[in-house]
């Protein structure tokens, strides 16, 4: 029986079961419906939002609807505070990553007055025509989650102890999920957003991870130099493909206006296998103003057809 392991992206999320159901239902209701269960495909989710957020989002409507009027609806749930760097390296990393998203200062983002959109946007978030009081929360969630993972920060959400090493804990969860008893072949990993970084990190750099048969990244920030730098040792432009544990294809789906992909959505040239471009980059056009939502990616015909091909169903 084929199996899909999902891994979610930045910001707080609904409870595990609800999140998994939402992803599955979205695939089943897609333009090219792919009801995994009916096709005899089992699925599971690597869930890590609980390590960074106090409690799951209870109102599911933001995650299932199409409105873009709340932070939760655009990957900004959980109200994460801006990350606090402990070292100069961390500060430089956060500043560089932040600069990719916006050139506005914190003080400017805090002002109640709407920030005028510049004629030529310098940051990826600036070209998203949504108010900054919503986008600010996405920015914080993005910087915070990426930082906590890549710097393996010891952290516990407010009111929860003990603190744990974020990268180590998530890596362990990912590795355990990949060799769970319910998993069988072909086995495909479908990742979104920060989940693509985690999945890549584990498949490329964690020797305890089981091998899989295919890898799909959706709305990935893996093209950003700052993130690639943090995936060394392991990543290199000439040998970036995680061939150690990905036996089949890697398909990367992106929307050019997805701010999380930044201005580097294409991965083939940065993740070569023996110097050859093998990642298949697929450009899609998601609906609406916020192009990063997982539900929008999962509704794309190319995602369903790719996954179906990899699963051989």
């Amino acid at each position: 029986m084929p199996h899909v392991t999902f891994i979610h992206g930045i910001a707080n999320k609904p409870p595990l079961d609800d999140l998994l159901r939402i992803w599955r239902d979205t695939l089943a209701d897609a333009a090219e419906p792919l009801p995994l269960g009916d096709r005899g495909v089992s699925s599971s989710m690597v869930y890590w939002a609980d390590l960074l957020y106090e409690k799951p989002e209870e109102d599911l409507s933001a995650y299932e609807g199409v409105l873009e009027n709340t932070a939760e609806a655009i990957d900004g749930g959980g109200n994460a505070p801006a990350p606090r760097p402990q070292t100069a390296e961390e500060a430089a990393f956060i500043a560089a990553l932040r600069a990719k998203m916006t050139t506005l200062s914190d003080a400017e983002l805090e002002t109640a007055a709407p920030v005028p959109a510049p004629a030529a946007p310098q940051g990826a978030l600036e070209r998203v025509p949504l108010p900054w009081f919503i986008k600010k929360r996405v920015l914080n969630a993005y910087l915070s989650d990426v930082h906590h993972y890549l710097f393996d920060v010891e952290y516990a959400p407010p009111g929860r102890t003990p603190a744990v090493r974020i990268q180590q804990t998530i890596r362990r969860r990912f590795a355990e999920a990949l060799c769970a008893p319910a998993v069988s072949r072909p086995h495909i990993v479908v990742s979104h957003s920060m989940g693509t970084v985690i999945a890549y990190d584990c498949l490329k750099r964690v020797t305890d991870c089981a091998a899989v048969d295919g890898f799909i990244t959706l709305g990935s920030p893996l093209g950003l130099d700052e993130i690639q730098d943090k995936l060394q040792p392991g990543w290199s432009r000439a040998d970036g493909f995680p061939h150690e544990r990905v036996a089949g294809d890697w398909v990367n789906v992106f929307d050019r206006l997805d701010p999380v992909c930044g201005f580097d959505p294409v991965l083939a040239s940065d993740f070569r296998k023996a110097g050859q471009s093998t990642v298949e980059d697929v450009a899609v056009q998601n609906e609406g103003t916020w192009r990063h939502s997982i539900t929008k990616y999962l509704r794309q015909k190319s995602v369903a057809t790719t996954l179906r091909r990899m699963l051989r169903v």
């Binding site: 029986m1 079961d17 159901r21 599955r24 239902d25 089943a28 209701d29 419906p33 009801p35 995994l36 269960g37 009916d38 096709r39 005899g40 495909v41 089992s42 699925s43 599911l60 409507s61 299932e64 609807g65 199409v66 319910a182 069988s184 169903v313």
Partner: protein
């Protein structure tokens, strides 16, 4: 009573309660049994509900709420006149200040309403009298207290229906005034006091004013929600079709009914029963306008509707197996020989149960030469004789018979066969299209929860090469030989074999029994056919 108790748990509790109430039974036992009656009503297990209500009535015959619930059981099991005999004295003896008084009066109205709707000729004297009595029953509590909005909205709907039939019942009442009064009362209800019937009631009142934009907006608020409840949509659908007669009176209303029917089928506990003519009419109807689909169900509206239409198309290949010139004895369905590993691959064959048709006519089945196959949704007057029994497997194995018809079937698409069994997970559903027990020329589209199966990856078949599935039907079981479909694709996964209200041993070595239906994997049948 926990809100999420399963049907099995409630039935087990009912069994205990009945035992306790037969004996000495404490005050606590009686109180628990009373709560159980309501819980059983909520899961629509009316038969068990009636048994417990009867037992409670014997111990506490004056308990008005239990008597009212008992009456509801009677109505929902087709005994409306007995319910009236129970409700009329109950409504009379209760003081107006008792909250059960308005409930009993409303239920009395519902009993009469049911008699009206069940009448084949709505203009007959009996139907007219029932309509009149229903209006009287709903009118009184509404006029006494405007907060009784469900009485008001039923009064509105029935008055509108009566006017449509040319009957001047309650001539002093103006339906639009009632609609406006109901809406005003609802809108004045503080948000925290609005219950699950708030929106459906507002919707109906808005229908009374012909305000379709408001109707669609409010239907969407509860029908398109991720946690939409089947009973709410079923109730609205019933009111729209039976009371308001929207399918026949209004194009936009017809579209709305179609959309609700599609949505109902998607939800746990949803089910639709259609007559042959209705099925044909629905298939022939144009798809609701895209803007209306999206207005009511959101962006996934068109997808939901296409899914439902596919289900209607599948019904064409579902056949009644009849004794020649006699009554229907089971169901069968059209399959492509190649999909079961037979040749010639494109030949169309019929699959049914062994216990429906078998070589020697072993009871309760009949011999092939005594059987005829009728695709009732296509042409109820065309019967196909059975030419040959190609293969069969007895009831303790695959309970299957594969039939070749004397005349090849043309113009009907065979049912697609699923490549795999669905994953057993909490949200997994299967659907059955069959002829519900005892009723000819009716198709029951039932939503069923997939409980377990013996297929991969975790299945442990107890009978070599046989793979059983268990699923729970919310209402009565489909008839023998029906196709069992996967939830999203309408592909056949199993041959329905038997139903069991209680006592079906669990699969895969699990202890205990439950209420379940049983089907046999079509892939396993295909494998057996290949030998």
């Amino acid at each position: 009573m926990s809100a999420d108790a399963t049907v099995d748990e409630l039935r087990a509790r009912a069994k205990d309660a009945l035992q306790h109430l037969r004996g000495l039974g404490s005050v606590e036992d009686l109180a628990a049994a009373k709560r159980l009656v309501e819980a059983l009503r909520n899961v629509r297990d009316y038969e068990t509900m009636g048994q417990v209500a009867e037992a409670v009535s014997r111990r506490d015959p004056k308990d008005a709420k239990n008597r009212r619930l008992y009456a509801q059981y009677l109505i929902d099991t087709g005994k409306a006149t007995v319910a009236i005999d129970l409700l009329r004295p109950l409504a009379q003896r209760l003081p107006k200040t008792d909250p059960e008084s308005a409930e009993a009066a409303g239920l009395l109205g519902r009993a009469y309403k049911q008699i009206f709707f069940d009448a084949g000729d709505k203009t007959s004297a009996g139907a007219r009298e029932a309509l009149k009595q229903a209006i009287v029953a709903y009118r009184k509590p509404f006029e006494e207290q405007a907060a009784n909005t469900w009485h008001g909205v039923n009064l509105l709907a029935l008055l509108t229906r009566a006017r449509g039939l040319g009957l001047r019942l309650a001539a002093d009442l103006e339906p639009r005034d009632i609609a406006q009064q109901v809406i005003a009362t609802l809108e004045a209800t503080p948000k925290e006091k609005r219950d699950e019937w708030y929106l459906p009631t507002l919707v109906e009142a808005s229908v009374g004013l012909g305000n379709w934009a408001v109707v669609e907006r409010n239907v969407r608020a509860y029908a398109a929600a991720a946690d939409a409840k089947a009973f709410q949509i079923a109730s609205t659908l019933r009111q729209f079709t039976e009371v308001w007669d929207l399918e026949r009176t209004d194009d936009r209303g017809r579209g709305l009914v179609n959309i609700l029917r599609a949505r109902l089928m998607e939800l746990p506990g949803g089910g639709v029963e259609l007559g042959r003519a209705e099925l044909q009419r629905l298939r022939a109807q144009p798809e609701p306008d895209l803007s209306q689909l999206e207005a009511v169900l959101g962006t996934e509206g068109p997808q939901t509707y296409r899914w439902w239409k596919t289900g209607l198309d599948r019904a064409l290949a579902v056949a009644a197996i009849r004794q020649q010139l006699g009554s229907r004895i089971g169901t069968g369905f059209l399959v492509r020989a190649g999909d079961l590993g037979r040749e010639p691959e494109d030949e169309l064959l019929v699959l049914t149960n062994f216990h429906v048709v078998n070589e020697h006519g072993a009871s309760p089945g009949i011999r092939p030469d005594a059987a005829e196959v009728v695709f009732e949704a296509v042409d109820p007057n065309r019967a196909y004789a059975v030419g040959e029994l190609l293969w069969s497997s007895p009831p303790d194995l695959h309970d299957a018979s594969l039939l070749r018809l004397k005349t090849p079937v043309t113009g009907i698409a065979p049912l697609p066969i699923a490549a795999a069994l669905p994953v057993v997970e909490q949200t997994a559903r299967v659907y059955i299209i069959g002829h519900p027990g005892g009723r000819d020329l009716a198709f029951s589209f039932q939503d069923n929860e997939l409980l377990d199966h013996e297929g991969p990856p975790a299945g442990k078949p107890q009978i070599p090469n046989v793979c059983r599935l268990h699923y729970r039907a919310p209402t009565e079981g489909g008839s023998s030989g029906s196709p069992v479909f996967n939830g999203r694709l309408w592909e056949v996964i199993a041959l329905h074999h038997k139903g069991g209200k209680m006592g079906m041993p669990k699969l895969n070595g699990k202890d205990g029994t439950y209420a379940a239906n049983e089907g046999l994997s079509i892939r396993a049948i295909a494998a057996a056919l290949k030998g």
